[in-house]
C-alpha cells in the first residue's frame, strides 16, 4: 500500500466548513434521488400521491423535492470548487454526506411518512419492519457521519502537531 502524504492541511482547514456543507448538501440530494429512483420508479413501493396526505405534507414534499435537485447539483459544484482550491477533504466530505443523507432519511421516515402521511414505504404489507429498517439505518448514518467528522478534526489536530500524514 502506498501512503500518500497529505500536503494541503492549510487549505483543508481554511475550507473545512465548505467540505462539510458540500457533503451535507450532496448527501441530502443523493438520498432524495435514491428515494425517487429506487422506491418510486423501480420498485413502485412509494405512491406518487397518497389520499391521506395532509396539506402541509404536500408542501413539505414539494419543497424538499425541489431543494434536493439544487442540493445535489450544488454539492457537486462545491466539490469541484474545493478541488480547484486544492482543499478537498474526503473524510469531512463523507462525514457531511452521511449526516445530511441520514438526517433527510430520518425526517422522511418519521415526519413525512408518519406525521404528514405523504405516503408509506410500501402498501399491503406489515409496515412496522419497513419503518424500523428505514429509520434505524437513518440513525446509523447520522452516527457514522458524526463519528467521521470528529475523526477528521482529530486528524487535523494531529497533523498540526506533526504526528500524522495519512488520511
Amino acid at each position: 500500500m502506498t501512503i500518500k502524504k497529505v500536503t494541503n492541511w492549510t487549505n483543508r482547514s481554511k475550507f473545512a466548513s465548505k467540505n462539510l456543507w458540500a457533503g451535507i448538501l450532496f448527501g441530502l440530494g443523493f438520498v432524495a434521488f435514491l428515494d425517487e429512483t429506487l422506491f418510486h420508479q423501480l420498485l413502485h413501493w412509494h405512491k406518487f400521491y397518497d389520499k391521506s396526505t395532509i396539506a402541509v405534507g404536500l408542501v413539505s414534499d414539494g419543497l424538499f423535492h425541489a431543494f434536493s435537485w439544487f442540493a445535489t447539483v450544488g454539492g457537486l459544484y462545491l466539490v469541484a470548487d474545493l478541488r480547484r482550491r486544492d482543499a478537498l477533504w474526503h473524510k469531512m466530505f463523507w462525514g457531511g454526506k452521511l449526516l445530511g443523507g441520514g438526517a433527510f432519511q430520518l425526517y422522511d421516515g418519521t415526519i413525512q411518512h408518519k406525521v404528514m402521511r405523504i405516503h408509506q414505504i410500501r402498501y399491503n404489507v406489515d409496515i412496522v419492519p419497513y419503518d424500523l429498517v428505514w429509520n434505524i439505518s437513518a440513525v446509523l448514518m447520522i452516527l457514522a457521519g458524526v463519528w467521521l467528522l470528529r475523526s477528521a478534526r482529530q486528524d487535523e489536530r494531529m497533523a498540526g502537531s506533526g504526528e500524522l500524514h495519512v488520511a
Binding site: 502524504k5 500536503t7 494541503n8 492541511w9 492549510t10 487549505n11 406518487f48 400521491y49 389520499k51 404536500l58 408542501v59 414534499d61 414539494g62 419543497l63 423535492h65 425541489a66 431543494f67 435537485w69 439544487f70 447539483v73 450544488g74 459544484y77 469541484a80 470548487d81 480547484r84 482550491r85 486544492d86 482543499a87 500524514h165
Partner: protein, 261 residues
C-alpha cells in the same frame, strides 16, 4: 364538446410569428456574419433558436395542438414544450445579444433604454416572473379557467401566449445569457427558483389528486406525472447552467496556497 372552434385560425395566428421569428433570426445571423471583423455567430445558438421556436410552436400548431384539446396528457406535453423547454432553448439562443449586434448604434441605444426601463425591471424580476409563471398555472388548473378556455377561442389564445411569455420571462430572470441590466445575486435567484420548482411540483400532485373539471382521472394522473417529472428534467438543466455560471464567477483569483511538507 371540446372541439368547437376552427383550428386554421390559430394555425395562422401562431404560425406567422413562428416563421417570422426564424426568418428574422437567420437574417440577423447572416448580417452579423457578413462582417469579417465581427465574431461569427455560434451555430449552436441558431440551432437552439430553431428548435426553441419549433417546440414552442408545436404546442399551438399541428398534431400535438390538435390532440391536446381532447387529451390532458398531450395537453401537458404541449405545455412542457411551450412553457419550459421551448423558452429555455430560446433563451440559450441569446436573441437580444444578436439584435444589439446587428442594430445601428442609434437603435441599439433605444433598445438598451427600453431594457433598462422600470417596466422591464418589473417583468424580469425573478419574483414577478415566478408569480406570472407558477401563479398562472395554479390559476389555470385549479379554477374553471381550463374548462372555459376550451370554449372561448380568445381565452385559449390568451392563455397560451401567457404560458409562453411567462415561461420565457421566468427563464431569463434566472439564467443570464443575454445582457442583463437589473441583476440579482446567485443566492437570491436560487432561493426564488427553489420556491418556484416546489410550487410546480405541488401543483402537479394537486392535479393528480384533484383533476380540473372535465378531465378524466387517468389522463389527469399521467398528465400530472408528466408535468412533475418533465418539469424536473427541464429545471435540472437550468440549475446546472445557473450553478455553472456561479462556479465560474467565484473562481479563485490567485492559486490557493499549497503547503508542501
Amino acid at each position: 364538446m371540446l372541439h368547437d372552434f376552427p383550428f386554421p385560425f390559430t394555425d395562422v395566428l401562431f404560425g406567422i410569428p413562428a416563421v417570422l421569428a426564424i426568418v428574422l433570426y437567420l437574417a440577423g445571423v447572416f448580417k452579423n456574419n457578413r462582417h469579417a471583423s465581427r465574431r461569427q455567430w455560434p451555430w449552436i445558438r441558431t440551432m437552439f433558436w430553431f428548435f426553441g421556436v419549433l417546440l414552442s410552436a408545436s404546442a399551438v400548431i399541428g398534431p400535438i395542438a390538435e390532440a391536446s384539446h381532447g387529451n390532458f396528457t398531450v395537453h401537458m406535453m404541449g405545455h412542457l414544450f411551450l412553457g419550459m423547454l421551448g423558452p429555455l432553448l430560446l433563451a440559450l439562443a441569446a436573441p437580444m445579444t444578436l439584435l444589439l449586434r446587428v442594430l445601428s448604434v442609434h437603435h441599439a441605444r433605444q433598445l438598451c433604454r427600453l431594457l433598462k426601463s422600470r417596466l422591464s425591471k418589473f417583468y424580469t424580476h425573478p419574483v414577478t416572473a415566478t408569480f406570472l409563471n407558477i401563479g398562472g398555472l395554479w390559476l389555470l388548473y385549479t379554477t374553471d379557467l381550463y374548462m372555459t378556455m376550451h370554449h372561448q377561442l380568445w381565452l385559449h389564445v390568451l392563455v397560451h401566449i401567457h404560458v409562453f411569455v411567462a415561461g420565457y420571462l421566468f427563464t431569463i430572470s434566472l439564467l443570464y445569457i443575454d445582457p442583463v441590466f437589473h441583476r440579482f445575486s446567485y443566492i437570491y435567484r436560487t432561493l426564488v427558483f427553489i420556491v418556484a420548482l416546489a410550487g410546480h411540483g405541488i401543483l402537479s400532485k394537486y392535479i393528480y389528486a384533484y383533476p380540473p373539471e372535465g378531465v378524466p382521472l387517468d389522463q389527469a394522473r399521467t398528465g400530472a406525472m408528466l408535468m412533475y417529472y418533465g418539469g424536473d428534467a427541464v429545471d435540472l438543466v437550468i440549475i446546472i447552467l445557473l450553478f455553472k455560471k456561479w462556479f465560474q464567477a467565484t473562481r479563485p483569483r490567485t492559486r490557493a496556497v499549497s503547503v508542501t511538507a
